[in-house]
C-alpha cells in the first residue's frame, strides 16, 4: 500500500520533472533566440576558428600523429571540444544574471521541480552547442574535412555530452560564487589549463612524458582522442571506448553535482 503510494508519488515526480524541464528549456531557448546578436555571433564564431586557424594546418600537416592523411580530421575534433569548453563554460553568467534579477528565487517559490531548473537550462545549452558544432562540421567538410559520416555523428555525441557536463559544472560554479567578479577569474583559471592539457591544438602524443602524464588526469584529453579516432573510423579502438567511458562518467558526475546544488536551500 505504502509502496504503491510512494511509486505513484515517484511517477508524479517524474512527470512533473519532465514537464517542468520542457517549460524551463523553452524559456531559455526563447531567451537565446531573442538575443539576435548572440545568435549571429554564435554561428559565426565556429567559422572564425576554421577560417583563421585552418590555413595553418597545411604547415603542420606533416607533424607526427597529427592525423596522417587528413589534418582536418585531427584538427576539427579539437576545435569541437574547445567550442564546448568555452561555449558551455560561460553559461554560468546567465545564471548569475537570473540570481541578481530575482528570477531564480521567483521560480524556486513555485512548485517547479528543482532538477528541472537545472536540466532545462543545461539541455538548452547542449542544443545550442550541437547547432554550432553542426555548423562547424558542415563548414569543415566544405573546406576539406574527409571523415566517415558515422564517425562524425559519434564525435557529435561526444561533444554533446561534454557540453552537458561543462554547462552543469558552470552552473555549479556560478551558484557557489554568485557574482561575476568571482566567477569570471575562477572560470578562466579552470578552463585554460584544461584546454591546454586536452591536446586540442596538437595531439598530446607530441608532449614530453611528464606533460603527457598530467594530461591523462584531465577528462578532455580522452574526449578529444576518442573523437579523433571516431573521425578516422576506428569505432572499436581503445580511445573510443575510453573516451565513451570518461564522457559518460563526467556527465553523470556533473549533472549529479548540479542537481545537488540546485536542490540545496540557498541555491
Amino acid at each position: 500500500m505504502e509502496a504503491a503510494v510512494e511509486a505513484a508519488a515517484g511517477r508524479d515526480g517524474l512527470v512533473r520533472t519532465l514537464r517542468d524541464t520542457r517549460l524551463i528549456f523553452l524559456r531559455y531557448v526563447r531567451q537565446a533566440l531573442r538575443n539576435k546578436v548572440g545568435v549571429v555571433f554564435g554561428l559565426v564564431q565556429p567559422l572564425l576558428y576554421l577560417v583563421l586557424f585552418g590555413p595553418l594546418l597545411s604547415k603542420v600537416g606533416g607533424v607526427q600523429g597529427a592525423g596522417g592523411g587528413n589534418t582536418w580530421r585531427a584538427f576539427v575534433p579539437g576545435i569541437l571540444v574547445q567550442l564546448a569548453l568555452f561555449g558551455a563554460g560561460f553559461v554560468g553568467f546567465g545564471l548569475i544574471a537570473d540570481l541578481r534579477s530575482g528570477v531564480v528565487e521567483r521560480l524556486r517559490v513555485t512548485p517547479v521541480s528543482r532538477l528541472a531548473l537545472l536540466l532545462g537550462r543545461v539541455l538548452r545549452d547542449t542544443l545550442m552547442l550541437v547547432v554550432q558544432a553542426v555548423m562547424l562540421l558542415a563548414a569543415s567538410v566544405a573546406l576539406g574535412l574527409r571523415a566517415p559520416l558515422w564517425g562524425i555523428v559519434v564525435g557529435l555525441v561526444f561533444v554533446a555530452l561534454l557540453a552537458l557536463s561543462i554547462a552543469s559544472l558552470s552552473y555549479v560554479l556560478a551558484m557557489v560564487t554568485r557574482v561575476e567578479d568571482a566567477f569570471a577569474p575562477l572560470l578562466s583559471t579552470v578552463t585554460l589549463p584544461l584546454m591546454l592539457l586536452s591536446g586540442i591544438i596538437l595531439p598530446m602524443s607530441m608532449a614530453p612524458g611528464w606533460l603527457d602524464a598530467v594530461s591523462r588526469f584531465t577528462p578532455f584529453r580522452y574526449v578529444v582522442d576518442a573523437a579523433r579516432a571516431a573521425f578516422r573510423g576506428d569505432f572499436s579502438s581503445a580511445p573510443v571506448l575510453e573516451g565513451a567511458g570518461v564522457t559518460v562518467a563526467l556527465a553523470v558526475v556533473s549533472v549529479a553535482l548540479g542537481a545537488h546544488r540546485f536542490r540545496k536551500e540557498n541555491a
Binding site: 517549460l23 524559456r27 534579477s101 530575482g102 517559490v109 512548485p111
Partner: protein, 322 residues
Amino acid sequence: MIEARGLARTFTGKHGTVEAVRGVDLSVASGEVVGFLGPNGAGKTTTLRMLTTLLAPTAGTATVAGRDLRADPAGVRRRIGYVAQGGGTDPSVPAREELELQARLYGVTGADARIDELARRLELDGDGLLRRPSAAMSGGQRRRLDIALGLVHRPPLLFLDEPTTGLDPQSRGNLWEHIRRLRDRDGTTVFLTTHYLDEADALCDRILIIDQGQIVAEGSPAELKRRVSGDVVTVELGASGASPAQVADRARTALAGHPAVREAVVLNGSLRLTVDDGERSLMGLIRALDEAGVELAALRMARPTLDDVFLTVTGRSLRDAA
C-alpha cells in the same frame, strides 16, 4: 494562515555570524493584512524567505497556509504567492511570457483567461503592455507585474516584501489600492513588510514591529499608538513683557498640576505637553493658561505616530534607524 514559533536564522559568513532573525513568533489569521514594520536590516526579508521555503530556519517551526514548513515545503509553495523585494522578472522577457511560464509551473487551468483577468485588475492591459519586457516598464507597472506573477495561481496567502520601496508617491497610492482590493474582493491574506510608517498605517489591520531580529511590539495601528501614552500638545507662547523663559516657566507651573498632563517640558521656547485624551482636555488646558495670565500664540496637537511607538519600544527613531 501563518503560525510560527521561535523562528530564527543565523548567517555564517566570511565576516562572522549574523543573527538575522532571533526567535520570531507570529500568528496571522485568514483574511488579515499584516505588516512587518522595521528598519533596514531588521530581519524582515529573512523572515519572509523562511516562511516561503526559500531559506531553512536554523531554529523554530511554522505552519504556512495549513502546511508544515519543514515537512511539506512543496505544499506550502502551492498555496502561497511571494513577491520579492527586488521583484523577479528577467528584464528582457516579455511580461506575458513570464506570466505564461508562471501559470504553467503552477498548473493553472485556463491560463490565458487568468492572465487577462489579472492584467485587467492590475491595470496591465494598456496598449500592448504585456508584450513589453519589464525593462520597458515604469517602476509601478513592473511592481504590478511582480504582483500578478505572485497571484497567477490564486493563492490564499500572498507575501509582499517592501511592495512600494522606490516608487513615486502616486504609484504608491495606486499600489495600496490594489493591495486593499486583494483582501476586500478575494479575501486574500496578505503579509507584507515595509519600513514606511504611513504604509503600515494605511494598509495593515495589524502591525508587528521588528527590530534587530525580534518582534518588539504588536497590535493594530490604533492600539500601538495608544500604547504611547497620550497625545502631544505643543504650545507656542506669546512673549509680551516678560522674557520667553519666564513665560514658559510660568506656563509650565500653571499646567503641571493639571490632571490630564503627564509630562511638560520646555523645548526651544515652546511648551511640549504629553496629554491624556488630548481632544477632550484641550479646552481645560487653555483655560488654565488663561487663568495664569499666559498669552498663547499658537497651539498644536498631534496624535502619536508609529514613529513615536517605535521610539517608545526601542529608544530609537525609526527614521534614524532606517
